[in-house]
Symmetry: C2
Subunit: 305 residues, 2 copies
């Protein structure tokens, strides 16, 4: 990994997910000196040794003077199939105050690596890994936050925070269903990737929200409209996306009703969820997901001292 | 194709779907003389010529005496991507009385092939191809049937019949979602193919029916229960199946409430839907799907005279 600037690096922040590896070189006062990313996510690695080797190759040029380099990681790197299982904290839990990073044994003694545990809930059963660090980041700026956090993605997370403590959360497979249905189901023949309509999206949100029981029926209408040539198929992607997000909003109504919602995700998902939430008159505030990850990792590093 | 008996064959009935080809040799009075099937469905064939070649090879040994052999087909063979687009009849429609088979031009002049059109509905957009022939088969024995037909499958069909006329129908992608989620989603890690529990299935039906908005959330709990080791994962398949069928029953409540439901599908699906319907106190009658296909094809042949 090529670095433009390694001057004054004191520690390293790492977000190591299923698909991607993101690394930030941090100064003593936790400012970003440089950052980089690659596609060497958990899914492409097969053993703990491979994780360490990848990290070593990324940071090799920083390990010249013999000092140890602290590295704080979050994400799937701490899963059972990752570098090492970092376990889960259990709700109710304040992810900012009690992150309890797990130290990893390393072959390269200069690498001093910690992984943050995920967060779990026993009843109903639920887990997150990586998002708890983003939530910690949000709490840095809102220590006693009471309200709802929405983190859309492959597996969207909704979390309820009371006075800075995550008391419960719920995962929705919205993003994964969108990918499966648009790429692998019969609907793939009726979805044109670069066609979009906000109106079709909003109609989907409304239908998914008002009539979630009709979801699997509404899906097939996307295909049937194509076959019957009504032309609406141009907006199959927008309609599918709207149906799924509308159903997620129906399933989380008891969470967001009368609450402020902090929304953090990548920019495309954030804009879609914002559009859908405004349609439902949800009071929504946008947060930068990457900044929150970094803030959460920084808080963990600073706690470690 | 090997035939055990070809004595007295007068015509041939064919159900030619996406995955399979099923052929019955029929006597003058429409009794089955012999039957056979193969996996040469539409999905494995690439041109009209290939369809004819496959059919010719199946029936070659019957074409010895120079007489023409009438062949009546239903299913995806009549789709745009099939042998030839046989179009759709539009609801309201009596599939028993007005099947209007489409004659196909053939290279082998002894093969005299017809394909039955599908059935479509403009608003909300919907299509079926193959199931209309099964419905025709049901109507053979219940000419003025008023009630609901449920045909579970990859794409489950619910049809409302009034005095023998299909007035509307609705397709649910239940089977395709089950296949995608159990084989291709993150849930595949948590689904054990040969583990089943009727209790877990019934709980899924109840949850899917009572809380369809929570569907994508309930899905993830199957995975989370596995990760957290509660053991419920043993019944992930039953729970997923129950959730999907429960949601389908929620989406069709206005169809079946207070109505008699004729249920026709393969034996496994039929038994699952029956279990779920009885849980909802639906008055359900089972029909043999294969017999209904054959009855529908026979009615079409006899109309052609």
């Amino acid at each position: 990994m090529q670095w433009k600037n390694t001057q004054g690096v004191c520690w390293v922040a790492v977000d190591w997910g299923t698909s991607n590896l993101r690394i930030w070189l941090m100064s003593k006062d936790s400012q970003v000196i440089d950052h980089n990313s690659s596609d060497q996510g958990m899914a492409s690695l097969n053993s703990a040794a491979e994780f360490e080797q990848v990290l070593f190759e990324c940071l090799e040029t920083l390990l010249v003077d013999g000092d140890t380099l602290p590295v704080v990681c979050c994400g799937m790197v701490g899963a059972k199939q990752g570098w090492q299982d970092a376990g889960y904290s259990t709700v109710p839990h304040n992810p900012l105050e009690y992150q309890k990073p797990v130290a990893l044994p390393t072959k390269h003694s200069q690498l001093w690596v910690w992984v943050l545990p995920g967060l779990c809930q026993q009843q109903p059963a639920d887990v997150m890994r990586g998002e708890e660090t983003q939530i910690a980041g949000v709490l840095c700026g809102h220590k006693d936050f009471t309200g709802v956090l929405c983190l859309p993605g492959t597996h969207s997370k909704w979390a309820l925070s009371q006075a800075g403590q995550v008391v419960s959360f719920n995962t929705f497979m919205t993003g994964e269903l969108f990918a499966l249905l648009s790429k692998q189901s019969v609907l793939r023949h009726s979805i044109i990737d670069d066609q979009w309509s906000d109106e079709a999206f909003k109609q989907g949100v409304s239908d998914g929200f008002n009539n979630p029981a009709q979801f699997t029926g509404a899906l097939f209408s996307v295909r049937a409209e194509d076959i019957l040539g009504s032309g609406a198929v141009l907006f199959g992607k927008a309609r599918l996306s709207g149906l799924l997000i509308g159903m997620e909003l129906a399933g989380t109504k008891q969470w967001w009703q009368g609450q402020k919602v902090m929304l953090l995700g990548d920019s495309l998902l954030q804009s879609l969820y914002k559009l859908a939430m405004e349609q439902m008159n949800i009071d929504v505030a946008l947060m930068d997901a990457t900044q929150m990850t970094l803030a959460g990792l920084t808080a963990a590093y600073e706690q470690q001292g």
